[in-house]
Amino acid sequence: MVRSISLPLRLATIVFVVLTAVFLLAPLVVVIGVSVSESQFIAFPPKDFSLRWYEAVIGSDAFVDAAWISLRVAVLVTLTSTLIGGAAAIAIHRRALPFSGALATVFLSPLVLPTIIYAIGMLMLWSAIFGPVSIVTLWISHTVITLPYVVRTTLAVLSESNPFLEEAAQTMGANRFQRLWLVVVPQCRPGLIAGAFFAFNISFDEAVLALFLRKPGLTTLPVQIYGQLEFSPDPSVAAVSTIMIALTVTLILIIDRLLGVQKFASS
């Protein structure tokens, strides 16, 4: 279709795509550029190349502690969200319970509600009942907001699966547990994997809940970066940010290997 258009239009298309690409990637490129500069101050383009800010980050307790907390929360969230969300998606897909249609809506509702509204509610409720927030608060609230992604990707995969396989397994004498574990779960696998990656990525990068549910000693990486940007930005923030970008690129590469990025984008 693009080939059949006139030359000026084709040129305009190319210019448009290049400009959009520059616009979308510019902040990432700039952050990477700042991180390898020798300068004391945030400067782009960098004049001299140096890895000193990466050394500074690795030697910084604040960043290392924050990274450790982010990683622990993200791993816990990925495991629980995938398990709980995957199980719910299987039950919703079977449409055997009353209100099946409404159930899907309930599970997707955290997606619709702005995170900031949920963050306030969670902070107020938690403080009223349990007192100070903790890593458990982050674990639970991140699991809530990542659940819809797992449910959605798993439902999408299940909707294309063969509905008679479970019945066939039953006819062949498989018990309830065998049917679930050997027939249904393997069919869900691509959806569960995609959901798990969503869950990890969202939890690791999440700033809104983490900002509301922070307290001294409970700072995730995005909150640590946010705090530095507000008060004392220096190139070490760029080094941490670059490490986070590298992690994202790695995740995308793994997703492409396992599922194909195109499929991921459409779910």
């Binding site: 279709m1 693009v2 006139s6 795509v17 959009t20 690409a21 616009f23 979308l24 990637l25 510019a26 902040p27 990432l28 700039v30 952050v31 782009f44 709980i84 969300g85 199980a87 719910a88 299987i90 039950a91 319970l97 309930v106 599970f107 955290p110 619709v112 509600l113 702005p114 900031i116 949920y118 306030i120 509610g121 969670m122 107020m124 409720l125 938690w126 009223a128 639970i140 609230s141 699991t143 809530v144 679930l180 690791f204 990068d205 700033a207 809104v208 900002l211 509301f212 995005p222 970066i225 940007l229 507000e230 940010s241 994202t248 995740l251 995308i252 990025v261 195109q262 984008a265 459409s266």
Partner: protein
Amino acid sequence: MSDRAENTLLLLPGLLLLALAFFVPIAQMLVLSVSGETGFTLEHFARFLGDPYYLNVLWRTVRLSVLITLICVAIGFPLAYIMARVGPRLRLWLIVLVILPLMTSVVVRTFGWMVLLSRSGLVPDILRDLGLAGRNFSIMQTEAAIVIGMVQVLLPFMTLSILGVVTRIDPRLEEAARTMGCSFLKSLRTVVLPLAVPGIIAGSLLVFTLSASSFVTPNLLGGARIQVLAASIYRSVTQTLDWPFAAAQAVILFVGVLLILVPYARLAGGRSNG
């Protein structure tokens, strides 16, 4: 164990989690927004709606969110169309182009814009070199900075929403229009655009909601002077510690979003049914 018991067992952990950790906190927040020292009160709402400062914050939030949504449609529709119609190799690269920023933390991307837009940053430098701006020109701490940053943050959501719909449009429809004498741009306007409307509406709902409720990017790029509603909520929670007032503002934000979403979603539903 019956089928029903098995499915209930699968569903129960998720339902319990959502009930206790999602619906109860929201209910708690609703209650707090109308609770005063002596029981039920609407004073927090009255305080917000009676103060020109907060009305201005509300108006700025709506204005910026609409503008950001419109710009995202203007860039997102052509981008999604091009993505849908290029060859598979190029499409893969374009998808990576959209997904890479999407999956990168908002804080990191906002940092990039802070560097680019700051007084000594690349963008004001270029504008000065081109003679388009004066020597003391700065974009940081302006509404323009918020719009630029937010469009970059939200454009991937819009593009992917429209892409999902455009890829399902049969290219033969366009060929038919071309055969009948339509120019390329006319076939785009009269064939593709109307068919892409559900995607544009879905993307707009998403972008508008996310835009109205975000505070990280507006706080860092707009500064304390240019407050949006979500930033004001954050300040009430963390600085003035006025939680009931924060809850009331959150309810106003949510009602405002719903007031715009519901008619818009109706429109989309009506169109896709009809």
